[in-house]
Symmetry: C2
Subunit: 286 residues, 2 copies
Amino acid sequence: METVLRSKGREVTIGADRPFVVIGERINPTGRKKLAAALEAHRLEVVQELAQAQVEAGADVLDVNVGAAGVDERALLPEAVRLVAEIVDVPLCLDSADREALAAALAVAPGKPLVNSVSGEPASLERVLPVVREFGAAVIGLTLDEGGIPPDAEKRLAIAGRILEYAARIGIPAENVIIDPLVLTVGADSQAARVTLETIELVRREFGVNLSLGASNVSFGLPERPTINQAFLTLGIAAGATCAITDPAKLTPTIRATDLLLGRDPYAARFIQHWRSRASRGVDQA
Amino acid sequence: METVLRSKGREVTIGADRPFVVIGERINPTGRKKLAAALEAHRLEVVQELAQAQVEAGADVLDVNVGAAGVDERALLPEAVRLVAEIVDVPLCLDSADREALAAALAVAPGKPLVNSVSGEPASLERVLPVVREFGAAVIGLTLDEGGIPPDAEKRLAIAGRILEYAARIGIPAENVIIDPLVLTVGADSQAARVTLETIELVRREFGVNLSLGASNVSFGLPERPTINQAFLTLGIAAGATCAITDPAKLTPTIRATDLLLGRDPYAARFIQHWRSRASRGVDQA
């Protein structure tokens, strides 16, 4: 199954036989004080700089989240979307818990964006999916519900099923739903990543939909986080994930290498092109 | 199936539900001019230093290869084995194409070593396996024969079968044979790694034996080799490889991270222990 996203001039297709899609995570003030302060002060050129830098580093899609204290998301999210779309021509992933902010951003986003995110909670399904349907967008479905994140893969699969079912009922086709199997830190539970990888395999087998990874929670609280995040991303891609919300500057080389090793990059063309682009920007080579 | 190797005082078990075993590759003069010169000059303290450094960096087993121009392997291999066994207490992997050198080294190696390697060629089977049998050692079997390295997984599986069959016939049990599925560079053939990963899965399913990876050929001729090698090792471990001949200083963090993510490291104990050991030696952290 393929999920097509669009910007003004470009189309990005997410699918199992396609190159893995990188959704740049850095336009998000959570845990980033400087960005939060810039958003509060309405200095949106910072957002444009982050957009540019991430696309240069290999992002195919950009997540846009402006949720910080003292920020009116309903005004700022559409404004940020407009400014990002002005400077880079990639599909956007509109990231907010506020339905009105999402609707306002969807109204100004060019092409066909992604919405981040809906969960399996009834209140979330009812709040988010109708607006996704109204604007013909795609959406990320998190495998959690009112009971939290289930510790086992079968229950996460069941939540994915409920999200897909609700979506279908109101007219959102399965190809417009990307499931995020969620991952907890392996520092707290050594089975945490295994459960996520198992969920990826189950959801892909059962529903055939696209799967998105968050690539940094897994290493929370542990040393050598980049090594863990890289290995997790490689395992996730091999298990069947097709996109990730991540930092392209840190993880695009690993993603390109994994695509290459899985036989999805004829003549190593994308791998070498990415390396040349890094080299030309003077980025340290591994 | 589990392969047990022994040094004087330690036992290392290679198996699917065990931590991945690192066989240090650096005592090998191929492509290392300084080591080749040291061996020719009979300066074997260099070999002892490499042994010590690799065990500190996480090697569970050490490959010992002294094959260089101007070196009499039949005298030098047993001598190197004796000196390495004096300074570190880990099982050894005796690496030579010369049967007499192997026999001389097997005669002095403590415990139960590994022999590197036999191929599916009749001449190789006849030359190497009887001496492996005689000393009760284990052996690495390469999936190549007189026709070279087959381009597809099924033919490599067939060669693995022939090696295991010959071994069984002369009294070497399957658990003492570790199959190396071989890997060519993805720079020349974008399906090269995929075929190796497929061979791992086929051999494990068909014969249940242990599988060893060489972790650096795959990236030959490409930029950012460490990133490719790390991703390949992660994919290989996930596919079912149980040990690798590799540089522990470069790849142990990725190996420990992959074991952790696959749920094989309760409380992240081995991962954290390795990080502490690196930190205490002042090794740059990722």
